[in-house]
């Protein structure tokens, strides 16, 4: 058991007991932080690990939320069944839109993904297919139901969201260390060298996109069932900017960094509510200052170490 495990365990224990000491308002703030952390993790996979400048993540989040809302309100499908469904819908959407643009580099990709999130928002406002309810959105989405136990109160949602986050952290941690995750890191560091070493960069980038979108779609499901009402205003370009800053400020490619970023971006504005009108001003200035003084984020990822295999030791002894 090393230092990191202790920190993780203390943090997890603190989170588990925190609803007891907090009023409902702050529990709800923690719920938002949890949702932002899930979205940040899913974007981190695309932006932090693969190094793709993706600023349209709110589009995938929106697809997940709207698929949940439409299927739930029209067909009455249970929310929990729709968790994978909305993830898959977002993933398919991502695969379709990302396929022609995945080869674009840096800034071009950034601006196209902004275009995608704007087109999705405008499509939602214009009541596309007559399903999305236009600017008013969709209301009357039901709550998730666990074998007869309905998740309704903020405290219930707290455990639901943070459990989902914990599972996400575990899975993303595994993925990071896998052959697939290392290939993505390689693409980020040097795309050309990666390709030269036999990594199919286009394919890997697309898979990273699709996987990130899948997770964002599931987050959309949670959001829809938490709010019970969704409208296009929740899925703007600025929402994407928030996810982007969560990843960059916290430390791109670092899971603790992303969670810290979610606390800062979604939590700090709540703490400074007294300065309501000036807080976004300070937020903007802080973003600039942060990039000047610590451009790799607050908790930049630590370079990973891999143990050499036994055969190397034998080799060395010989």
């Amino acid at each position: 058991m090393n230092k990191n495990h202790v920190i993780c365990a203390v943090f997890a224990a603190a989170m588990v007991v925190s609803p007891i000491f907090l009023n409902l308002y702050w529990v709800d703030v923690l719920n938002n932080i949890g949702l932002y952390a899930i979205l940040g993790l899913s974007l981190n996979f695309i932006l932090g690990h693969t190094g793709l400048f993706h600023m349209g993540h709110a589009a995938f989040f929106a697809v997940g939320a709207y698929v949940t809302a439409v299927l739930n309100t029209t067909l009455g499908s249970p929310i929990l069944w729709l968790v994978p469904v909305s993830g898959i819908a977002a993933a398919i959407f991502a695969a379709v839109v990302a396929r022609p643009i995945i080869h674009l580099r840096g800034d071009y990709l950034l601006i196209v993904t902004i275009g995608i999130v704007e087109i999705v928002r405008i499509a939602l406002v214009n009541n596309i297919f007559g399903l999305t309810g236009g600017a008013n959105g969709i209301f009357g989405i039901s709550r998730p139901d666990f074998f007869g136990f309905t998740i309704r109160r903020p405290t219930h949602f707290f455990y639901y969201i943070w459990l989902f986050l914990a599972v996400s952290v575990y899975l993303f941690r595994k993925l990071e260390d896998s052959r697939f995750g290392r290939a993505l890191n390689y693409i980020k560091e040097d795309e050309l060298a990666a390709e030269g070493n036999g990594i199919n960069t286009g394919h890997y980038k697309l898979v990273a996109f699709v996987l990130g979108a899948f997770w964002a779609g599931m987050a959309g499901n949670i959001y829809a069932s938490k709010m019970t009402i969704i409208s296009p205003q929740s899925f703007t370009f600025w929402e994407s900017v928030l996810y982007f800053t969560i990843v960059i400020l916290g430390g791109s490619g670092s899971i603790p960094g992303v969670i810290l970023g979610a606390f800062l971006i979604a939590g700090l504005p709540e703490v400074f509510r007294e300065f309501a009108s000036a807080r976004m001003l300070i937020f903007g200035a802080a973003m600039v200052a942060m990039m000047i003084f610590r451009p790799s984020g607050i908790l930049a990822p630590i370079p990973r170490k891999y143990k050499l295999g036994r055969w190397r030791k034998k080799e060395a002894l010989r």
Partner: protein, 301 residues
């Protein structure tokens, strides 16, 4: 046909505004390889400064119409240029050798800062531009009644573009700007003061953006503190359409985008007006990523 020509002139006027903003993006991108996300907000600041100068100082009453508007344009250009230079010094200069992503986030932060600063100073509501500055006249061209303001905006933006084009092509400073855009290192070795070039780019770009803000105020009659980012994004699309980093490209891209948007709004659907620009963007990046006038550059390895 009436509708077609009305939309054409409307599109050209709006396109001229896009082109002026796009020039700021394309010049900064050319020299620094940075999307200056705060540029749209400099445009908003220009619009609001123009409003203050018009209402609080009553420029047009004191100086007469023609001189008043000219003075207004010059003052707005100067003031926004100061903001632009300060922006560059504070938010971009320390990041010149840093990761590209850091500069993008810094630009976004600056954009949020400016947007909220404007909101705190002027309030969150729409502000109305004084509508009686220009006489409500329409000019009759070949049987078409075209509002005077459209012609003035188009003419003014074309004059500014030609002036900029001549400046960049014919003067020594202009040559230095072009050289720094092509290869900063080589330009430095040839004795170009790249820092000075960057400062000049951050004077010209925001000045043009600021004057475009005044034009929008006069054309639509109302301004809002969030309008900058939509105009900024569209202008950036115009810059890509023409070929990013290419100055004549930004001009043509701006005018073209304005016309495409006006035609789309008239003949396809007004509700999808804002999405048309983004469809154009996706199309151009798939078909011809270098833009209309961009040269094919060998990818750096």
């Amino acid at each position: 046909m009436e509708l077609f020509f009305q939309q054409l002139t409307n599109g050209l006027a709006v396109g001229g505004i896009y082109a002026l903003i796009a020039l700021g993006y394309t010049m900064v991108y050319g020299v620094l390889k940075l999307i200056n996300f705060a540029h749209g907000d400099l445009f908003t600041i220009g619009a609001y400064l123009g409003l203050t100068l018009l209402t609080a100082m009553g420029l047009t009453d004191k100086l007469g119409l023609g001189v008043g508007i000219l003075a207004l344009a010059v003052m707005v250009m100067g003031l926004v240029a100061v903001v632009g230079v300060v922006l560059e010094r504070v938010a971009y200069k320390p990041l010149r050798n840093a990761d590209r992503l850091a500069a993008v986030v810094s630009a976004l932060g600056a954009s949020i800062f400016f947007q909220n600063a404007v909101m705190l100073i002027y309030g969150a509501k729409f502000r109305v531009y004084p509508h009686n500055i220009l006489p409500k006249m329409a000019v009759n061209i070949l049987g078409l009644e075209i509002p005077l303001i459209r012609i003035i905006i188009l003419a003014a933006s074309i004059v500014l573009m030609i002036a900029l084009y001549l400046f960049v092509q014919k003067t020594k400073t202009g040559t230095a700007i072009r050289a720094s855009a092509i290869d900063q290192g080589a330009a430095k070795l040839m004795g170009v003061n790249v820092n000075r070039v960057i400062s000049i780019v951050f004077i010209i770009g925001p000045a043009l953006g600021g004057v475009a803000g005044v034009m929008v105020g006069m054309y639509y009659g109302q301004i809002n503190f969030t309008m900058g980012w939509m105009y900024g994004l569209k202008a950036f699309i115009a810059a890509i359409l023409g070929g990013i980093g290419n100055i004549p490209g930004a001009m043509i891209g701006g005018l073209l985008l304005g016309v495409i948007e006006a035609m789309g709004a008239a003949y396809i659907s007004i509700a999808w007006k804002d999405a048309i620009a983004f469809f154009v963007l996706i199309l151009i990046l798939i078909v011809r990523p270098t833009g209309l006038l961009g040269e094919r550059v060998a990818e750096k390895v």
